[in-house]
């Protein structure tokens, strides 16, 4: 058993980070110049880290698979970014943000990290404003805030519905400034396929140039992974098409532990699936639930008629509608947390009450609000969302109810990291959504952007110096070392094997099949028997993939099918690990409902005695079962309580 120790400073919670900064070892500017750092990924975490490390004087190499760093999927975040600024004087402070995050995460996050995150949050806003991020403002010229995700205070900063885009452009511009200054070298259109470990330390990466197909070696004194989440394991998700787990997965296979892989967040308000060729799901802001009422028909005959488009939803009489959230959760109604709303929608659809052509959708009805407030008021609040919905679905939500269904949105699991954001491999760091993060079993709205930027701008630049201060005598790492040769050899082997399979089935087909298995058995509701079944199905899928995948095109050219094949192969293995993790976690917590662990009236039941820990998995070789390690979570400041929304 590996002893998983976060290594937070021995100080009262509120003083840990300042005490860390006061005592951490720094690197002299002359020595920074001699130290190389690789940063993989250019989203909020990766771009902010690369920019800041470059600004400090390190030699940074930044990698992304996109054509430019500005396209990383952080760009798609809509809602906002939390910060304990208390500009509204409504009682917010660092402790309250910390408390909300711990509670929102259903008591499965580490207190020390979360407190640090909350305490850094105000600095993020200061920096972003200085970079020129055009946050929403009041007429007086000061910053505006809104309340988000049911919190009692207004602490969310936003830039219309495009906060992620504006923050990312801020980080991208900081990165561009460093690229121009020569402190960061950008490698775009590159897939990082392997991490190179030399004498137990992360020393480089093997990448494929996506344009030429060349395999390249890059070395550094430390490697930072900021590669985002793995939601695409479900095939259909709100992630970008290219989002993948590959760099994190190769880190796992090289010895980094993978924590809480089964923790994924399912968002209740997405546009439903329309057909077999659908490639991607689109999220619509959660704020819609403030004014929309969710329902399905009470009678199956009505459901049938709706699916055949013989009647329209407006024709169903009020008395024949089942407002199931209001019925089940009278206190919170349509505003129950994400996980509860998602699960309830799935339950209705599983029972056969789902609407839409696929039967996997529920109505979100604005007619009451429109009658009460007028169409103009609704348009002022949600105009752009209604427009987006109409563009995709071709229905007018002012006239007919929207259809929504839950979709995978964020992954709380990821590489295990300590207080310094270092994985269990020395010199290998993981930041942003890529690590197992500060969000426990469920992330609060508007917290993902906060974490990515906190890690990149303010945490990693300190903690990495503690490691690098011991590396100042290490000369530049040579890419001719045998470890690099072996890694290149392995990568080439796997590529030839993929290319040489000469099967009949396209990569997408395998990906879709995997997605269906994961969604069905390892989605928002899980059971022992279902998970056991999934384990078998994934095993078969893995074997089929190895023998039957078909990849056209060559190795030494632009070949998107080959890229996808590598990623999907990793997703299949990750799926296996997720199912194993879900099997072991015999409790319902956060967004995950374990059917064996529920209260007598069918609500989620957490089990703090047995599962108040982080499960971190160790790779033991292909074919061998991974080993589960635990990091016990101590709640000294916040006392865990059971959530109730009745």
């Amino acid at each position: 058993m590996i002893n998983l120790n976060a290594g937070a400073p021995k100080a009262p919670l509120a003083e840990q980070w300042s005490s860390y900064k006061a005592n951490c070892r720094l690197v002299n500017p002359n020595n920074k110049r001699k130290l190389d750092i690789i940063v993989v990924g250019t989203g909020l975490a990766g771009a902010s880290a690369a920019a800041t490390l470059g600004q400090l004087g390190y030699n940074v190499k930044s990698f992304c698979y996109q054509d430019t760093p500005r396209r990383a999927h952080s760009i798609a975040a809509q809602g906002g970014i939390n910060a304990a600024k208390n500009y509204q004087n409504d009682g917010d402070n660092v402790f309250r943000l910390f408390y909300d995050t711990i509670k929102g995460g259903d008591y499965r996050a580490r207190e020390s990290n979360v407190y640090r995150l909350a305490s850094i949050s105000p600095e993020i806003i200061d920096l972003c404003v200085a970079q020129g991020v055009p946050f929403a403002r009041e007429y007086g010229g000061l910053l505006a805030n809104r309340s988000f995700g049911g919190t009692q205070v207004s602490r969310t900063f936003y830039a219309r519905g495009q906060t992620g885009q504006q923050l990312l452009i801020g980080a991208y511009s900081a990165l561009s400034r460093q690229i121009a200054a020569g402190s960061v070298k950008l490698y775009n259109r590159r897939d990082v396929l392997d991490i190179v470990i030399v004498d137990g330390k992360a020393r480089g990466v093997i990448v494929r140039n996506l344009v030429t197909g060349e395999i390249e070696r890059h070395s550094a004194h430390a490697v930072v992974l900021a590669t985002g989440g793995y939601g695409n394991v479900f095939y259909l998700s709100t992630n970008a098409m290219g989002s993948n787990v590959t760099p994190a997965w190769s880190a796992y296979k090289k010895g980094a532990l993978f924590a809480n892989p089964c923790f994924t967040q399912i968002h209740p308000t997405c546009i439903p699936v329309h057909g077999e060729f659908q490639s991607k799901l689109t999220l619509m802001s959660e704020s819609l639930r403030n004014d929309g009422r969710i329902w399905v028909p009470k009678a199956k005959e009505d459901v049938e008629q709706l699916r055949q488009k013989k009647i329209t939803p407006e024709q169903i009489h009020e008395s024949k509608r089942d407002y199931y959230l209001e019925r089940r959760y009278p206190a919170f109604g349509n505003l129950v947390p994400r996980d509860v709303a998602s699960r309830a929608a799935k339950e209705r659809c599983d029972e056969g009450y789902g609407v839409g052509s696929s039967g996997r959708a529920v109505f979100l009805d604005f007619s009451d609000s429109i009658n009460r407030l007028g169409a103009d008021a609704i348009s002022a609040r949600y105009g752009n969302l209604f427009q987006m919905y109409e563009r995709i679905v071709d229905d007018n939500p002012y006239q007919t109810p929207m259809m929504i269904y839950p979709a995978v949105h964020y992954t709380m699991g990821g590489l295990w990291v300590d207080y310094e954001l270092m994985t269990t491999v020395p010199g290998l760091y993981s930041i942003g959504e890529c690590n197992f993060s500060d969000h426990g079993a469920n992330r609060l709205g508007a917290s993902a952007l906060m974490q990515g930027l906190a890690d990149g701008y303010f945490v990693l630049p300190y903690t990495i110096s503690a490691y690098l201060s011991n590396e100042i005598h290490t000369p530049p790492i040579q890419t001719t070392l045998p470890e690099f040769h072996t890694a290149v050899h392995d990568v080439n082997d796997r590529l030839s094997q993929l290319k040489g399979t000469k099967g009949k089935t396209s990569v997408d087909h395998f990906h879709k099949t995997l997605g269906k298995i994961m969604w069905e058995y390892c989605g928002m509701s899980r059971s022992e028997s279902g998970l056991q079944k999934a384990l078998g199905l994934i095993g078969e899928l893995k074997a089929d993939f190895a023998s039957d995948v078909s990849i056209p095109g060559g190795m030494k050219e632009y070949n998107p099918e080959l890229e996808k094949a590598w990623r999907v192969q990793d997703f299949i293995e990750l799926g296996d690990l997720m199912v194993r993790d879900a099997l072991e976690r015999k409790e319902s917590c956060g967004g995950h409902f374990r059917e064996e662990s529920q209260t007598p009236d069918g609500e989620a039941l957490r089990n703090d005695e047995q599962f108040a820990h982080v499960a971190a998995w160790e790779f033991k070789g292909d074919g061998a079962s991974p080993v589960r390690h635990r990091e016990e979570l101590r709640f000294d400041t916040v006392k865990p309580s059971q959530r109730s929304y009745k």
Binding site: S176, N188, A240, S550
Partner: protein, 257 residues
């Protein structure tokens, strides 16, 4: 629905390339344009042929990766919409659809419909930022910003860097892209500090990369998926002229300790 597709195929940068005709059958009107191409590619893969390469990523209209010059218009016929958000119901059943890559000397074709837009990154690197480090920043509310300025800055900053402006411009000019970034930062007090320097650097870099010059056709504004206004080009021109005429020569200061 059924479509005849005339798609630009080009093996690599040095290949000459040409239009190839394909039939797309059994397409749902609810499919996005890319889902239609996905479907075509699945057929090509099944036949052992090389699938059509095109750039795409978020598929929700914000990352700016997608391109495609569809029937003579970047991002196709719908106003204010990226290709990934374009659905097949916007086309007539049986229609012939031309699909070409962005055309501009500064955007060389990599393969099929994919072009290299790193010229945009180079322009941003020339000055599309505020030179601040991550320490010692004053509180975010220290400088009030008039709401109309903040809103106008946001409108300019909404640019997704897709390059539709260049693709649609009869002159392959990048003025809207550069104008949007110059405007975004010039409108905010935080960006004002180095505004003179920035606009000169960015325009010089744009010129050096081989983009065309603006002839005020406003095709860029009509085709921009984020509907960024040509007012931003005028603002850039204004900023540029003011900087050229009034800014003093920068001294090159060098000293040793």
């Amino acid at each position: 629905m059924i479509f005849t597709l005339k798609i630009w195929r080009q093996k690599n940068a040095s290949d000459k390339g040409g239009l190839v005709t394909y039939k797309a059958e059994d397409i749902s009107p609810d499919s996005s344009f890319f889902e239609m191409l996905d479907q075509l590619n699945q057929q090509l893969i099944a036949k052992g042929e090389d699938p059509v390469a095109f750039d795409h990523d978020c598929r929700e209209g914000i990352c700016g990766t997608c391109s495609l010059y569809i029937n003579g218009r970047p991002h196709g016929p719908l106003k204010g919409t990226t290709t990934c958000q374009l659905h097949m119901r916007s086309f007539r059943n049986g229609e012939t659809i031309y699909v070409e890559p962005w055309r501009c000397g500064a955007f060389p074709v990599i393969k099929d419909l994919i072009v290299d837009r790193s010229a945009f990154d180079k322009i941003i690197q020339a000055g599309g930022y505020v030179s601040v480090n991550s320490g010692g920043i004053p509180d975010a509310n220290t400088i009030p910003v008039p709401k109309p300025d903040a809103d106008a800055a946001f409108d300019a900053a909404a640019c997704i860097g897709c390059g539709a402006c260049v693709a649609s411009c009869p002159n392959a000019s990048a003025m809207l892209f550069v104008g949007a970034k110059v405007s975004h930062l010039a409108l905010l007090p935080q960006g004002r500090v180095e505004a003179e320097h920035r606009v000169q650097k960015m325009v010089a870099t744009m010129d050096s990369l081989g983009f065309g010059n603006c002839s005020n056709t406003y095709a860029c504004e009509a085709e921009c998926p984020k509907e960024i206004a040509v007012t931003n080009i005028a603002r850039m021109n204004r900023e540029f002229l003011a900087a050229k005429i009034f800014a003093e020569k920068e001294k090159q200061i060098s000293f040793t300790l």
